[in-house]
């Protein structure tokens, strides 16, 4: 299926309600030619993973500012593995201390984008790292 736009789920797990960054990224990726499913704030790991399964996305982008990333993000990558979504690329953005990044990477988060990342950088990273579909 050549030419299928890359499909990205943007979700905010947990309780913080600050979604400006997530919305700006969603809009920016739209302008970069991605199909962006936006689920909004206050999502549980279960809601995010079933949305990823139903939408069959290539990327799950998680925006989190609350500090609960070490709890919620490994839970999401674990549930994705349980669902057989091992080929989906999981990325995170928001306020995540540098020392936590290796922990998240160990848990299956491919990349962490902190404040100051440009939309172009995110788009380039996704284009380079989404696994092509064999069908």
């Amino acid at each position: 299926m050549a030419g299928r736009p890359i499909k990205v789920l943007i979700a905010k797990p947990g309780l913080d309600g600050h979604d400006r960054g997530a919305k700006v990224l969603a809009r920016g990726l739209r302008d970069e030619g991605f199909e962006v499913v936006y689920t909004g704030i206050r999502q549980t790991p279960e809601m995010i993973v079933s949305a990823a399964v139903q939408e069959d996305v290539d990327v799950v982008g998680l925006s989190i500012l609350s500090g609960a990333h070490l709890t919620l993000l490994p839970r999401i990558t674990g549930l994705l593995r349980d669902q057989g979504m091992t080929d989906v690329l999981v990325t995170a953005g928001g306020i995540i201390p540098h020392e936590d990044v290796p922990v998240l990477q160990e848990a299956g988060v491919a990349a962490v984008f902190g404040p100051g990342t440009s939309i172009g950088q995110v788009a380039d990273y996704l284009r380079a790292n989404v696994k092509p579909r064999d069908a």
Binding site: M1, R4, P5, A26, R27, L29, R30, D31, E32, G33, F34, E35, V36, V37, Y38, T39, G40, Q43, T44, E46, M47, I48, S50, A51, V53, Q54, E55, D56, Q83, G84, M85, R133, D134, A135
Partner: protein, 334 residues
């Protein structure tokens, strides 16, 4: 990958999806959206198993409350223990091809419910192909046991009725601030409605909007019986709903259910909506295949040269089109 292997893959996805594998269903819908050979193989298996579901189109202007109403209908149907699928369509950018698929924002309360399956689709600039992809997606969900399939269209203006018209039942969603009575007199969207849902009934003016819609939509009804075979616009019922207040939603679902195609309709293929849908799908598929083959012919015989010759007025487009069509017919025998 060979054609056979792709066919096997499509059939395997279809079997797994029917067995309740949500991941397989999600993947299969991706194939359907991409109009892939695997999807064709799957649809050949699944189409005969579909036909039992009630396909309901939900359409209306942007911001009228379609997604909110769909969410409320899903909740009402779930309260009755029914499984529900939603196909939510949002527009692709004609410039970048990107899209924001934002209908799920209102529907996420149902995301983790196994009796609900929600899929967003972008329009992807399909010329007429969106209808085919949508009907195929609905058929897949139907064959996988979802008895109620809600198809939420893009926010429409006055003329885009194509996708909504393919459902068994079409609900046109109008907000109270829809404009004056003249809006209800105009041709287009309201003519394909079986049900008009006036949303945001908790707001001032909703009663008046419903009343003026009822009055205007029944104008000319007395002529229907003498119209003979002349096509007539539908005469929709007008219902007031407030998804936020929870009023009118159960009544709307009941009105939708009253329009469920009968088993005889499905078995005979005589239901009017089923026939309209089948015709649109067949014509759409033939057009899709012709476009595919035209690309093949273009690659082999140089469409670019034909385009150049017509643009330069060296050839006329009619003779050139006939020649391309002849090339397609040859290809189809290969």
């Amino acid at each position: 990958m060979t054609g056979l292997a792709v066919g096997d893959q499509g059939r395997a996805l279809a079997a797994a999806a029917r067995a309740g594998d949500r991941r397989a269903l999600g993947r299969l819908l991706t194939e359907v959206e991409g109009r892939s050979p695997a999807a064709r193989a799957a649809l050949v298996e699944l189409y005969p198993l579909a036909g039992g579901a009630h396909l309901v189109g939900i359409t209306g202007p942007p911001g009228a409350g379609k997604s909110t109403l769909v969410t409320a209908l899903v909740a009402a149907a779930r309260a009755q223990g029914r499984s529900v699928a939603v196909v939510a369509i949002d527009p692709s950018s004609p410039i970048t091809g990107g899209a924001i698929l934002g209908d799920r924002v209102r529907m996420q309360q149902h995301a983790a419910d196994d009796g609900v399956f929600i899929r967003s689709m972008a329009t992807r600039g399909h010329a007429g192909g969106l209808a085919v992809a949508t009907v195929d997606a609905a058929a897949v969900l139907d064959a996988c046991g979802f008895g109620l399939v809600l198809i939420e269209t893009v926010g429409t203006g006055q003329g885009e009725v194509e996708v909504a018209a393919l459902a068994d039942t079409t609900v046109v969603v109008q907000a109270p601030e829809m404009g004056d009575e003249v809006q209800a007199l105009k041709a287009g969207l309201l003519e394909v409605a079986d049900i008009v849902a006036v949303t945001k009934a908790d707001r001032p003016g909703a009663d008046q909007a419903a009343a003026s819609l009822r009055a205007m939509l029944t104008v000319g009804a007395q002529h229907d019986r003498v119209a003979g075979d002349r096509p007539r616009p539908r005469r929709p019922e007008v219902l007031l709903v407030s998804a936020v207040g929870g009023t009118g939603v159960v009544e709307l679902l009941a009105a939708i259910d009253r329009r469920t195609p009968t088993a005889e309709d499905s078995a005979s293929g005589r239901g009017n909506a089923a026939r309209v849908r089948a015709e649109a799908q067949l014509v759409g598929l033939v057009m899709e295949r012709v476009r595919d083959r035209l690309s093949g012919v273009a690659a082999r015989d140089g469409l670019a040269e034909a385009v150049r010759a017509v643009a330069a007025h060296e050839s006329d487009p009619y003779t050139t089109a006939e020649r391309l069509l002849a090339g397609i017919m040859v290809t189809s025998h290969e």
